[in-house]
Amino acid sequence: MAAVRVEEVLAAAEEQEAEKRRSVVVEKELELEFDLGNLLALDRNPPPAAALRGAGPRREALLRALARDNTQLLVAQLWELPAERAGGAGGPLVARLPEPTFRLPREKPAPRPRPPTRWEQFARLKGIRRRKKTSLVWDEQAKEWRRRWGYKRAGGDPARAWLAEVPENADPEEDQFARLRREKRERVARNEFNRLRNLARAHRAGTAVPAAPLHPTGHQSREELSHVSRVARVSTASLGRFQPRLPKESAEPPSRSGGKKRRFEPLLGNLAAERSRQLEMLRDINSKKPVLDITRAVNKQMRQEEAEAAAAKGKKKQSQRGKRGRRQ
């Protein structure tokens, strides 16, 4: 009896092993195409059409088996890759994936071209083409190459121009410097206005307008830039917790309420830690106090002088008393 049982057990074990081995090996008519960079496996084998027709549990089971087989083949391919242990001897086994070869289609629709601005339309009409300008210009005054505009430009800083010629047809009473400043202001305002109008036109036409804060114009204020940098810091998968930061930046990412909501330590938190922190603070406070207290030193000096003066006065009195006594 026992022998029969043992045989049965052995046979069952063999069956199980064969089953396991069978499930690892997959037979396919056509080989699959693999793109391991994208973890992609393409199966061009035609599926049994009869079974796929009509919904039902049979279809589900068939699809599931298909998926399992293909995944098995993909995983087998991944195991063939050269692997190494990451982070030293005890780390996980890591395989380096090859470069992806399959071109993935666009996620979002292609952007439409933006409508031409008024100047672009005019230029096209007139046939004006862009002339490439050199970045440096020869400055005769300074006898060197200076940039065309900006810091230390050729022609000197217009704000420090000390001479403003009065044009022939101008009012002699008019302040030329004020006029130049006013005209510059107007020019800047007109340019800004036109830029915004072009943006609005692009937006109305439905083309993708880059979000104003992320579209650097060079005119961004400090607040805008700090806001953008704050947003960029938190726009990571771990919400900005492990971002590299500047030496003086804080460790916690900026709070969403903009620092309005205060956070306190828990009420019954680690009391031992609290005590040690307070002792540290006390040590800090005590170290800040000056060891040599000027007033105390001065007082001590004054006390000494007074004691000496009192002693001297006492001696003088004694000697005087003695003299008087002798006289009498």
Binding site: L267, E274, R275, Q278, L282, I285, N286, D293, M302
Partner: protein
């Protein structure tokens, strides 16, 4: 009720150290138990851990006071020490002033201490130093700020103020309603 923040703790410790110097360590680090400071409705309380655990279960609106009130934070976050802290200031005080029996009552009514009422004063007291005021029988009466250093106290005329009054035990009777 919440623990004090870094800045608040610093303010409180600086104020306390004006009266008791480095002996604050003995308040923070006690051999007979863990004591801590907690803030409730702008008042700073000093209490043991055991008491804290019990007080934590009282609703915030119903909690009036807990442990010993050391003082309160004013609207502009300045810390004002109250008379209820005297029990913890008196044993650790660095600079003491003894008041003659005649002017004890004057001090207990809230007046400053004049030179004529000054009995003894610790040597080396600096001007504007925090001092604890005692009666001649070594009973702590309150605390204040030295208006003159010990040196100057000797030379000044009898009607001059030597200690500015800040708190005295008479407040327990005078301000009975507002003390916590």
């Amino acid at each position: 009720m919440r623990p004090l923040t870094e800045a608040e703790t610093r303010t409180v410790f600086e104020k306390l150290s004006r009266y008791i110097g480095e002996n604050i360590q003995l308040l923070v680090d006690r051999p007979d138990g863990t004591y801590c400071f907690r803030l409730h409705r702008d008042r700073v309380y000093y209490l043991s851990e055991k008491l804290l655990k019990v007080a934590a279960s009282v609703p915030r609106d119903n909690l009036v006071a807990l442990g010993t009130c050391f003082g309160k934070f004013t609207k502009t976050q300045k810390f004002r020490l109250s008379i209820t802290a005297l029990d913890f200031l008196a044993p650790y005080a660095k600079y003491k002033v003894w008041v003659k029996p005649g002017s004890e009552q004057s001090f207990l009514y809230g007046n400053h201490v004049l030179k004529s009422g000054l009995g003894r004063i610790t040597e080396n007291t600096a001007q504007y130093q925090g001092v604890v005021v005692y009666s001649m029988a070594d009973v702590p009466l309150g605390f204040g700020v030295a208006a003159k250093s010990t040196q100057e106290c000797r030379k000044v005329d009898p009607m001059a103020i030597v200690v500015f009054h800040q708190a005295d035990v008479g407040e327990y009777v005078r301000n009975e309603d507002t003390l916590t």
